[in-house]
């Protein structure tokens, strides 16, 4: 093989692998991503029941009830609308009424949201960014004292 042919082989192989990677990425992006919604989005966009989404907002104070066998129900609100969430399992350490939360799961035909995971946050001053944005959109964002004050860094936290 001449130098030119070898170079072409190399470039061909490179493009082949990159093409494979791009194909996989495009396929996965169609199939394996999850959209984030606020309660207002869920009610206004008519999210189809069964579709896997993330729902985030504040846990509405006074709505958390714990049933038997680790069943929990609570409402997630963005100040405008709220959605009832059911979950079976253990809630994260920092789950609190009135605090931000992100849940992942699907809407049931009746309009309740069945969460498979409830995501933890790791610091009491931290608010998930999507939740903060959703609240800002509804005009309920309060910059109270201490918020955004340097908490522990997350790089060291990992």
């Amino acid at each position: 093989m001449t130098r030119k042919q070898r170079r072409l082989t190399l470039i061909g192989a490179g493009l082949g692998v990159l093409g494979l990677a791009a194909g996989l990425v495009l396929y996965a992006l169609n199939d394996a991503i999850v959209f984030f919604n606020s309660p207002t989005d869920v009610l206004e966009k008519n999210v189809a029941p069964g579709a896997r989404i993330r729902l985030g907002g504040l846990v509405k104070p006074g709505t958390l009830t714990r049933g038997d066998n680790l069943n929990v129900r609570f409402e997630v609100t963005d100040g405008n609308k709220s959605v009832l969430v059911t979950h079976v399992g253990i809630l994260p350490d920092l789950f609190r009424e009135g605090q931000g939360v992100v849940t992942e799961g699907a809407l049931e035909p009746g309009g309740t949201f069945k969460a498979e995971t409830v995501l933890a946050k790791h610091d009491e001053t931290y608010m998930p960014k999507e939740v903060a944005d959703a609240l800002k959109k509804q005009g309920h964002w309060k910059t109270e004292g201490g918020y955004g004050l340097a908490g522990p860094s997350k790089g060291a936290a990992k």
Binding site: L24, P152, S153, G155, A156, K158
Partner: protein, 659 residues
């Protein structure tokens, strides 16, 4: 006084870095030995001053000096002493100080051990190191001063985030930073080579040990972080494909590719332009990781409060160094001389194959990490890209790579024999198929992926050992002869075999844990028993227990197997009053490489406590695999040729087979 001293030392380090960034460069241009030699002494002095600054901050923490804002926010007088040390870097400002400390350490090491480098290369390398240092000193002094004082010192601090009050914080960030920052050396060498316009096999020989050291530390740092998350977060997961984790994985993958392409460059003087590009990209990914972690642009379960001005500053650093590095590359790389040629089927070809797949896999992680950011900027839609995406992209790209691993070392340089290598791998393939069939038979209708994964893992492990077994003649010659030959093999050959073997171990652990993990989540009262895979766990009772700066509720479980008591496990929930936070302390029972994992939830209204129990088969192989891989790296690092280093004539080098 101490904080002011630390602050002042940091300013002086910046001043020294400014000298180091300019004078040696001028010296290298004018070929002035005196100016070039400034680099070494300033690099050492810089390290001394940063170390003094770091020591000052540590002293503030140990003395619980709450007049320092940073100490007030992240410490508590009742905290155990070890956490007072580690909380120095358990916050943004302190961890950036650790970053520059390690950067200065690497600079000082190059100054100390770079005696055999050509003077101009050494001067240029240290000057480039100093540019990076200047940028980060400025970043700390302008946006993240760890020594800021409070006008009125509070009596008590706000305590360190409880999740960080763990020995993991002592180990994980320093290791990770040694890796991240270690890649700055390969970056500086590349930029220096581009400035010089000269690059050869000797260059690769100098760069390789530094890359190897950084790669080893990064691997350990990632593995320790993963184990820490596994036992501390109470979810029993060891990898979440979280943006912050991806940020550390990307430079590691690129660094792995760099290690392999540097071999080609060192042995065959080929792939030069590509190696330089990889070195620049690897450190760029380290910087990108720093940016993602520090700026908070991405949502991550690890995200804490962040400050936008810092993000903009780091973005600036990112643009200057990555943009500048790539621009210099585009301008100067065409001037570099082309290297030797080789057939597609050859050792070089195998290493190129490795590089193609590793960079493609790295690119998919990059897309998965940054796509949500791009999409939100373009369309406003918020999405999350999680494990399903990475399993679909990263996974398939690693399969051909794993299949190819055993072939690489069996192919000859320049022109290899694929069929011959395949024949020599028959034992590995056969054992892999046996493992596949055995797994199928044992699990009867379990997950489909498991038998193939286990088969592949066994194939990789056995395949990695074929090269040393053949070269020592084990099973063919008397054992003593084989042992003598084993000692005669170059350490780098052993390093390769061990590291490749470890890749198989890691895969084995990942497959076993992800496919055969058993989980029970139940609500228990004292006296209740929960069972998983033949283990019966009885809750004996709940008892409160005080800690130094927390209260904890301990649940006592007796573990029985077939009626016989195996052990007592005590998972707990800790409440830290200062921060109003609670953490879950999981209890682990290790049996062989498998673990029982037990963690607690809340106590319900009826007095029952939520319990999460996992049986994780072979889970320890994941981290053991990483450790063994690093051992392989260490073996390779101890190879004589890297210590002798330097441009010796080829004939002389050939006379010195490694001991």
């Amino acid at each position: 006084m101490t904080p002011e001293f630390g602050h002042y030392a940091l300013v002086l380090a910046l001043a020294l870095a400014l000298i180091q960034a300019t004078v040696p460069l001028w010296g290298a241009r004018t070929n002035d030995a005196a100016l070039m030699s400034v680099a070494g002494s300033t690099a050492l002095a810089q390290f001394v001053f940063v170390a003094a600054s770091f020591a000052a901050l540590t002293a503030c923490y140990v003395a619980s000096d709450f007049s320092v804002l940073n100490v007030f926010q992240n410490s508590h007088s009742a905290m155990p002493l070890v956490y007072k040390f580690t909380s120095v870097w358990g916050n943004h400002e302190g961890s950036m100080l650790l970053w520059v400390l390690i950067l200065a350490l690497f600079g000082a090491l190059v100054a100390l051990f770079g005696a055999n480098l050509p003077a101009s290369l050494k001067a240029n390398v240290l000057a480039v190191q100093a540019w990076i240092a200047c940028a980060f000193y400025l970043f700390i002094l302008v946006t993240s001063n760890p020594f800021a004082r409070l006008a009125h010192a509070p009596a008590e601090g706000r305590d360190l985030n409880p999740i960080l009050q763990d020995i993991g914080l002592a180990v994980h960030p320093p290791l990770l930073y040694l890796g991240y920052v270690g890649f700055s050396i390969s970056f500086s060498f590349s930029i220096a080579a581009l400035i010089d316009g000269k690059i050869d096999a000797a260059w690769a020989r100098w760069v390789r040990p530094w890359t190897l050291v950084a790669w080893m530390f990064l691997a350990l740092g990632i593995a320790m972080g993963s184990y820490w998350a596994y036992y501390e977060l109470g979810w029993g997961g060891w990898w979440f494909w979280d943006p912050v984790e991806n940020a550390s994985l990307m430079p590691w993958i690129a660094g792995t590719a760099l290690l392999h392409s540097a071999v080609v460059m060192e042995k065959r003087n080929a792939l030069k332009v590509w190696t330089i590009l990889l070195a620049i990209l690897t450190f760029s990914l380290s910087l990108l990781g720093t940016f993602l972690v520090r700026s908070g642009v991405l949502t991550s379960v690890h995200t804490f409060a962040t400050d936008p001005s810092r993000g903009v500053f780091i973005l600036g650093i990112l643009v200057v160094f990555i943009g500048g590095g790539l621009a210099l590359y585009a301008w100067r790389a065409p001037a570099l001389k082309q290297g030797g040629i080789f057939a597609p089927i050859s050792r070089e070809g195998a290493l190129v194959f490795n590089n193609l797949f590793l960079t493609a896999a790295c690119a998919t992680v990059f897309v998965g990490t940054l796509y949500p950011l791009a999409l939100e900027a373009l369309s406003g839609d918020k999405i999350s890209v999680g494990a399903p995406f990475f399993n679909l992209t990263f996974g398939p790209l690693f399969v051909p790579l794993l299949i190819a691993i055993p072939f690489g070392p069996l192919l000859a340089w320049k022109r290899g024999d694929l069929l011959g290598a395949g024949q020599r791998l028959i034992a590995a393939v056969a054992l892999g198929i046996v493992a596949l069939a055995a797994t199928l038979a044992i699990q009867r209708g379990g997950p489909v992926l498991a038998p193939f994964g286990i088969g592949l893992a066994v194939y990789v492990m056995v395949g990695a050992l074929i090269d040393p077994v053949e070269r020592t003649g084990l099973f063919r010659v008397p054992f003593a002869t084989a042992l003598a030959r084993a000692r005669g093999l170059p350490r780098s050959a052993w390093g390769t075999a061990v590291a490749h073997f470890a890749a198989g171990m890691l895969l084995f652990g990942v497959i076993a844990e992800s496919q055969w993990n058993a989980e029970r989540i139940v609500s228990m009262k004292p006296g209740d028993t929960v069972s998983v895979r033949g283990y019966d766990l009885t809750l004996d009772g709940l008892l409160p227990r005080p800690g130094p700066n927390y209260r904890e509720l301990v649940a006592r479980f007796t573990v029985r197997q077939g009626g016989a008591v195996v052990d007592v496990l005590e998972p707990s929930k800790r409440t830290f009053p200062q921060r109003q936070m609670s953490t879950t302390e999981a209890a682990l029972l290790t049996r062989g490489a498998s673990q029982l994992y037990l963690s607690l939830g809340e106590v319900g209204p009826d007095g029952a406590i939520a319990v999460r129990l996992y049986h994780k088969p072979m889970v320890l192989l994941i981290w053991l695999g990483a450790v063994v891989m690093v051992l392989g790296g260490a073996l390779s690092l101890s190879d004589r040729r890297l210590r002798v280093g330097a441009p010796k004539p080829a004939r002389k080098a050939a006379l010195q087979p490694a001991e």
